[in-house]
């Protein structure tokens, strides 16, 4: 419990910054919604001039764009990008913290097993992500209600926002397993930005091609197709399962590797 609280405390500030940024981003986009909805036809025409490949890359769906959910799904891809970076940052930093701040000689000689150290850190990261998502969801819901021109499905809105949580968890798990392979990890951000943008670009490229369901497995960003969610009021099970497998496998691997790891002296 002491470790959990300690870790949570140390993540507090960064988590607040991320949450505020995510909210600011969604608020910025949602504020544009009333004007888009007012000139829906003009806006559609404008977007129709974009090549289909670009539209696909940006996740623009012309038919839906004038509805709140359709518009939100377009801007949501940027929000998930930010969320993924937050998740990845958390994942990479929790277990590498002792080597980055050179505090391994402190924490790892305490009378606790490495397993419980990992668990405490993982739990703290999960708590941070959950808190971020709750605050983000509630605030975004309020903003959406303020800008809406007609009623929309709250259930669908929730389901869309839940994918942010899924993506954060996926990238957190990936970040964790990446971090345990490093002997010495100096800074978190370059790796996390690299990996997340890599997947994001791959995801964007996949969507420009013919809708290829197999290729979509490559990028977690493509696991949750918002258009599909709006249409079917559900997630695609096969991708949901894949996401779960990735998360569980990455976390188990992180435990095994971190427990077996040699912790060398700082130099």
């Amino acid at each position: 419990m002491n470790m959990f609280l300690h870790e949570l405390k140390s993540m507090r500030k960064t988590a607040a910054i991320w949450t505020v940024s995510l909210i600011a981003l969604s608020a910025l986009f949602l504020c544009m919604y009333p004007s888009v909805a007012a000139d829906a036809e003009e806006f559609k025409k404008l977007l129709a001039n974009y090549p289909p490949a670009i539209r696909a890359m940006l996740g623009i769906n012309i038919e839906n764009i004038a509805s709140l959910l359709g518009f939100y799904s377009m801007v949501f891809s940027f929000i998930t990008l930010c969320g993924a970076i937050q998740g990845m940052n958390l994942g990479i930093s929790i277990l590498s913290r002792e080597s980055r701040e050179r505090t391994a000689d402190f924490l790892l000689v305490k009378p606790v097993s490495r397993k419980s150290i990992i668990s405490a850190k993982l739990l703290a990261a999960l708590t941070t992500i959950i808190a971020t998502n709750i605050v983000f969801y509630v605030t975004t819901l309020l903003i959406a209600n303020a800008v809406k021109t007609e009623d929309y499905s709250n259930k669908l809105f929730f389901m869309i926002n839940l994918t942010l949580f899924f993506l954060e968890i996926i990238f957190m798990a990936i970040g964790m397993v990446v971090s345990v392979f490093f002997k010495k990890l100096k800074s978190v951000l370059p790796i996390s930005l690299g990996v997340v943008f890599g997947f994001y670009m791959v995801g964007a490229l996949i969507s420009t091609g013919k809708s290829d369901d197999v290729a979509r497995y490559i990028s977690p960003f493509k696991y949750f197709d918002i258009t599909y969610i709006i249409k079917n009021a559900g997630y695609e099970v096969s991708y949901l399962v894949t996401a779960a497998v990735i998360v569980i496998a990455a976390i188990i691997a992180s435990y095994i590797i971190y427990i077996r790891k040699d912790i060398h002296a700082v130099s």
């Binding site: 002491n2 300690h6 140390s10 701040e101 050179r102 505090t103 391994a104 000689d105 402190f106 790892l108 000689v109 305490k110 009378p111 606790v112 097993s113 490495r114 077996r260 040699d262 912790i263 060398h264 002296a265 700082v266």
Partner: protein, 293 residues
């Protein structure tokens, strides 16, 4: 039961570094010195003992249990690493409280006492501390739960002489109260003052393990003489003489063995001056190293 038990401990990484077949046992109440030059394998041995590093072969236990399988035995362990780093954005007192929270006992009084002895300001942020002050945090942190085993890895680096003195008093006091101390260093004089037994390590192997008293007993003498006339070099070519240096009429060497033998030799020489001293550990130590090479 030995407090520390190291059996056939081997850790190899690549070719050069690592430790080979280390055997050691430290009894309760002892102050045990672990001496070797930098890179000899002292830290590797200690880190394996603490469960930070997995051994390639053999095992290392404290209180009869391996730290890797039974992390809870570290409850009775206080460790001071050679270089101390803590969470920079914490205040000293918060860090010490966090440290204490792992031991499930009230350490507030002890923290205050230790901070007073070491002259440490508890309210400051760790990032604002100098190296020496961080080391003090490390000392308080290692001792605040009154451990039964204290492991020190190069403890005095960064401390000024006055603080070193206080630190040694503190350790001696803990030892009087029953704590066992395992003390690694490359500075021999500090080990000489405190330890009851000492092990020399070089290139990952223990080359000598001896009682301090045996080391310092009459077995070693540092002898310097000045002769009236030039004497043949091979006069001192006898068993037990090492580090023989002769410059004209003055001759220095270290002698180990029966003193009567060497005194008999001396009696035959026409001496102008003689001095017989206790060699310090440094010289004995160098003696081992030179012989090994």
């Amino acid at each position: 039961m030995s407090v520390i038990e190291i059996k056939n401990l081997t850790k190899s990484y690549g070719k050069a570094r690592g430790i080979k077949n280390i055997n050691l046992s430290v009894e309760q109440g002892e102050i045990f010195g672990f001496i070797g030059p930098n890179g000899a394998g002292k830290s590797t041995t200690i880190r394996t003992l603490l469960g930070l590093i997995y051994p390639s072969e053999g095992n290392a236990t404290i209180f009869g249990k391996s730290c890797i399988e039974h992390p809870e035995v570290r409850k009775e362990l206080g460790y001071l690493p050679s270089e101390v780093f803590y969470y920079d954005n914490m205040r000293v007192i918060d860090l010490l409280k966090y440290s204490a929270s792992f031991y499930k006992k009230d350490c507030t009084r002890r923290i205050k006492e230790l901070a007073e002895v070491m002259d440490l300001d508890l309210k400051r942020k760790i990032e604002d501390l100098s190296f020496g002050n961080k080391k003090k945090v490390g000392i308080v942190q290692g001792l605040l739960h009154e451990p039964k085993l204290i492991i020190l890895d190069e403890p005095t680096s960064g401390l000024d002489p006055l603080m070193q003195q206080k630190f040694f008093e503190l350790i001696a006091e803990e030892n009087r109260k029953g704590a066992t101390v395992f003390f690694s260093s490359h500075i021999l004089s500090e080990v000489q003052k405190m330890c009851s037994r000492v092990a020399f390590i070089k290139d990952g192997k223990i080359i000598k393990l001896e009682k301090m008293s045996t080391l310092q007993e009459n077995s070693y003498k540092k002898i310097s003489i000045e002769t009236k006339g030039i004497i043949p070099k091979d006069v001192f070519d006898i068993k037990g003489v090492s580090k023989l240096e002769s410059k004209g009429k003055s001759i220095n060497f270290i002698f180990k063995g029966n003193i009567n033998l060497i005194m008999a030799k001396m009696a035959d020489i026409d001496l102008r001056n003689i001095s017989i001293e206790e060699p310090d550990l440094e010289e004995i130590f160098m003696h081992y190293y030179v012989k090994e090479e």
